[in-house]
Symmetry: C2
Subunit: 186 residues, 2 copies
DNA sequence: TCTAGCCTACCTTCTGGTAGGTAGAACGCG
DNA sequence: CGCGTTCTACCTACCAGAAGGTAGGCTAGA
């Protein structure tokens, strides 16, 4: 079970750095210290691997969201922590969040994995929608706009800012892009 | 010269649909109707091809920006047309703009191509900065914020919205995400 | 005569994936 | 208890196809 977890870990790191087409089973085998054929024992095909990666990533998201909710007093604090989460996923400019990385290589994904990505974004979007609604109520997030639309815009902004910053390996691009959103938090 | 243009055209379409790692010289040869070795005659390596693609794409951008400037009376109109441009690049949810598509497969790019992408974004950013500054002056774009930051946020938003919409092959994701930005235009 | 543009044929390396086998732990059962 | 079976996790060895790229030759036009 330990090997499987290590494979998933290596696969996630590789996918976030090189894209889904940017690493092979041979690479994973090397990273974990087993032979290529043994990787196929755990994940028969690359599609199986991708599907389980997204499943795992979605689970981690739910855990993160709970942790943010538990640690935050105001909606503004929640939003700020979510932005920090995307910033952290950048790994200083070297990696993307798995969602962005896999979206880019969409054509190499199965329908199942694409659906899972959509669900991932839906979870984030729903969470952000609630945050913006609460933020308008408790006054910790200013500016006009419907929570639903603000949430969609924020998610796109965070993903786009990540992509930009990673391209130039410069986290300042991320900070520049999310500046106006951060400025809305009291 | 005609063949070379056709190759660039096919390469751009493929890169925007499948990513830089998602098509091969053999694919291009098939698309254009020549043999694989002949593609190498025009572009010795894939890196050469990528570099020229970005160069061409940047040129097209400058043309587009001039056209938008010429056709628009107000800053609001300019911004609206730029958003429409990114929406159009989506191809109904099937393609990304080249900038987003290549950024995703960053690790397969040469330093030259990465620099060219950075320049492309810098051009868009500078143009948007001017638009936001003029928009504040002529009152056709509302909301607080410094033009420079608004420009960075808008670019990230447009790219992120594209990536999202393409993943789900649903242009409504794009429209949802850019809604708040459009709402700032008088 | 030189060159641009194309060709056939070939190379090496890597890809995802399969076939078939082995050592050892776990299990059912008389 | 001991014996055979089954399962897990790994292995070596292999496959066909595709990748990027090269060598060298043909042909038509400047």
């Amino acid at each position: 079970m330990e090997t499987k977890a290590a494979l998933l870990q290596a696969a996630e790191q590789s996918a976030r750095t090189f894209g889904i087409d940017g690493f092979s089973f041979a690479d994973l085998a090397r990273a974990v210290g087993i032979r290529k054929a043994s990787v196929h024992h755990h994940f028969p095909t690359k599609a199986d691997l991708a599907a389980e990666m997204v499943r795992r990533y979605h689970e981690a998201l739910l855990t993160d969201l709970d942790a943010i909710d538990a640690a935050s007093d105001t909606a503004g604090q929640r939003l700020r922590r979510q932005i920090a989460r995307y910033r952290f996923a950048l790994g200083g400019g070297k990696t993307l969040c798995l969602c962005v990385a896999l979206s880019a290589g969409r054509e190499s994904l199965t329908a199942e994995a694409i659906d899972a990505l959509a669900e991932y974004r839906q979870t984030v979007r729903a969470w952000l929608t609630e945050v913006f609604a609460k933020g308008a109520a408790d006054g910790t997030i200013i500016g006009p706009g419907q929570p639903e639309k603000d949430a969609a815009a924020s998610l796109a902004l965070l993903e786009g800012a990540q992509l930009w910053a990673r391209t130039e390996m410069d986290i300042r691009r991320f900070d520049d892009a999310v500046g106006p959103l951060l400025a809305r938090i009291i």
